[in-house]
Symmetry: C2
C-alpha cells in the first residue's frame, strides 16, 4: 500500500483537507467554509485526528492563504500575518495544527504549494524549472519554483500586485485595489471585472470586450514574469482563465507584447507549451500540500 499523507489547502473562503498518496489515490476528502480560526482549525484537526492516531498519516502539508510568515527562524513562523480577514490576523495556523496532531508539517503559501504540486507530480515539469503558477480569481497570486525550491524571500512574492501599463483612454476604470488602485489585481481580479462591467465575470458572454481587456492585463503579467524569471513553464490557474478561449487569447497577446524580443522557440512558436492550464486542475493546491507533507519527512 502507498504511504498516505495529509494535505490542507487553507483558503480564504474554504478549507480543503485530503488524505492521499498522490493525485491518483485520494482516500478521504472534506471541504468546509473558512469561518473564524478557532472553529476552522479545530475542524481541520478533527478531520486528520483518526488518520494520525491510526498512524496511517505520518505528516501533513499546509498550503495557506496569506500573507504568511515563512521564515523558520521567526517566532511567528507559520502564522497568517496581516490579512484583512476578520480574526485571522496573527493566527498561528501551522503551530496550532502541529501541536494537536504531533506530526511533521510542511508549510508554504497556497500559490507556492500549487507551483510545487504541478512541479512535483507532473513528470515533464521536473525539467521545467523555473516553473511559475498563477491564479486569477478573487485575487491574483503567483508562486514559483526557482532552482529547485519554492520562492521565499523577505516575505514571499506578491506579483499579483505588479504595476503594469493602464491606458485610461481605452480603460477609464480606476481599479479596485485598496493599496494601489490600478495595480494588476486592481485592474484584472474577478471583483474588478465584476465592478467594471456591472456583472460577475463568469456571466460575461464569450464575445464581450471584457475578455480581450482581461487577456491584455494577464498578458502583461505573464510578459513581465517571462522578463523577470525566464520561466520554462507558466501554469495559469484559478477561475477566470478557465473561461473558453481565454488562454489562447493570452498566449497571442504575450507574443504581441514581447514582440520578438525573447528569441526562444517556446515564446516565438510553441507558446502553447509555455503557458498552460494546470495539469492537476483545481487539485494543484491541495496536491502541492501533499507534496509538502512528503518532503517534510523525506
Amino acid at each position: 500500500m502507498d504511504t498516505l499523507y495529509g494535505g490542507i489547502e487553507a483558503g480564504g473562503t474554504k478549507f480543503v483537507c485530503v488524505v492521499a498518496s498522490g493525485p491518483d489515490h485520494i482516500l478521504a476528502q472534506e471541504r468546509f467554509p473558512t469561518t473564524n480560526p478557532a472553529e476552522t482549525i479545530s475542524r481541520t484537526i478533527r478531520f486528520f485526528q483518526p488518520f494520525v492516531e491510526s498512524q496511517q498519516v505520518k505528516s501533513v502539508g499546509i498550503a495557506a492563504f496569506g500573507p504568511v510568515d515563512l521564515d523558520k527562524r521567526s517566532k511567528t513562523f507559520g502564522y497568517i500575518t496581516t490579512t484583512p480577514k476578520p480574526g485571522w490576523e496573527q493566527a498561528d495556523l501551522l503551530g496550532t495544527i502541529q501541536r494537536a496532531l504531533k506530526v511533521p508539517c510542511g508549510f508554504d503559501t497556497d500559490v507556492n504549494a500549487a507551483a510545487f504540486g504541478e512541479y512535483y507530480w507532473i513528470p515533464e515539469n521536473r525539467d521545467l524549472d523555473p516553473l511559475l503558477y498563477i491564479t486569477v480569481g478573487t485575487g491574483i497570486g503567483v508562486g514559483g519554483i526557482v532552482n529547485g525550491q519554492t520562492l521565499h524571500g523577505l516575505i514571499h512574492p506578491e506579483a499579483g500586485h505588479m504595476f503594469i501599463p493602464h491606458d485610461r483612454t481605452v480603460d477609464p476604470f480606476p481599479g479596485v485595489c485598496p493599496f494601489h488602485e490600478d495595480c494588476l489585481e486592481g485592474l484584472a481580479s474577478g471583483p474588478s471585472m465584476a465592478k467594471r462591467w456591472g456583472q460577475p465575470a463568469e456571466t460575461l458572454p464569450d464575445d464581450h470586450p471584457g475578455w480581450d481587456l482581461e487577456a491584455k492585463y494577464i498578458g502583461f503579467l505573464i510578459s513581465n514574469l517571462i522578463l523577470n524569471f525566464s520561466p520554462k513553464r507558466v501554469v495559469l490557474g484559478g477561475g477566470v482563465p478557465q473561461h473558453a478561449g481565454f488562454i489562447p487569447k493570452v498566449r497571442k497577446l504575450v507574443q504581441m507584447q514581447l514582440n520578438g524580443y525573447i528569441q526562444s522557440p517556446k515564446v516565438m512558436d510553441t507558446i502553447d507549451e509555455l503557458i498552460v492550464p494546470p495539469a492537476l486542475g483545481s487539485q494543484a493546491g491541495v496536491m502541492g500540500a501533499i507534496a509538502l507533507a512528503r518532503t517534510a519527512v523525506e
Copy 2:
C-alpha cells in the same frame, strides 16, 4: 600566497580582464574597447596566456553581455546569440577562450555575475538571498541569486524590458526601445534620458525634473522586483543611479508606490538596507567573474 583566478567582464563597449584572488588583491588588469569578436577575443586570450602558462591562473570566469546561451546541454552554450552588435551575433565567446587557454571556465551574464560578485564577496550578503543586481546605463539589466544560484531559465531574465505604467499626460515622451517603445528600458535608459531632455543624463543639473521622473521609473522597476522576488537585497548599480541623491529618491518612491502593502520592516522602515549601491562599486561584474572562476574549480 592566495590562489589567483582570471576574470573577464565582456561588455558591449569594453572588455575588462583581471587576474586576482579577490577584490582586495588584483595582480594585473587591462581594459580595452570591444571591437570585432576576432580581435577582442584574441586580445583577451593574449592577456591571460602568460598567467595560464606559468600555472598562476588555473581557471577563468566570464561575465558576458547578452543575450547569451546559458544552457549547458545546448550546442551553442557560451555563445552571444541575437545581439545587434555587428559581428557578435552567434559569436562563440566561451568556446574560443576555453580552447585557447585550456582551463575550466565559468560563464554567466554580466548582471548575473555582478549579482554573484556582490553575494560571494560581501559577507553580509550571504544571508540576503534572493539578492538582485540592477544596472542602469546604456541599457537596463537585472541579474539575481535565488535559492543559492544565479537566475537562468528558458534564456535568462531581461527584466530591464518590463512593462510599467507610463502616464503620457505627465511624460509624453514615446520611449526609445526598438522592440517595445515605452517599456522600462525605452523610458529610463541613459539614451532615453538623453533623447527626452536633449542632453546626456550626466549633464542634467541635480534639480532637473528628469531625475524625479527617472526615479519614478526605476522605482516601478524595483517595486515590481520586490513584488516578484521578495528580495532581501537590491543592489542598484550602473552609471545613472550613482548621480548624487538619486538612490534616496528611489527608496522614497518605492515606499510610496508599494504604499504599505509589503509589511516588512525592511520595506517600511529600513529601506536604505534593502536598496543599496554596489559594495564592490564598478568592480561588481569583474569580481563576479573571479567568483565564477573560483566556483568552476571548487
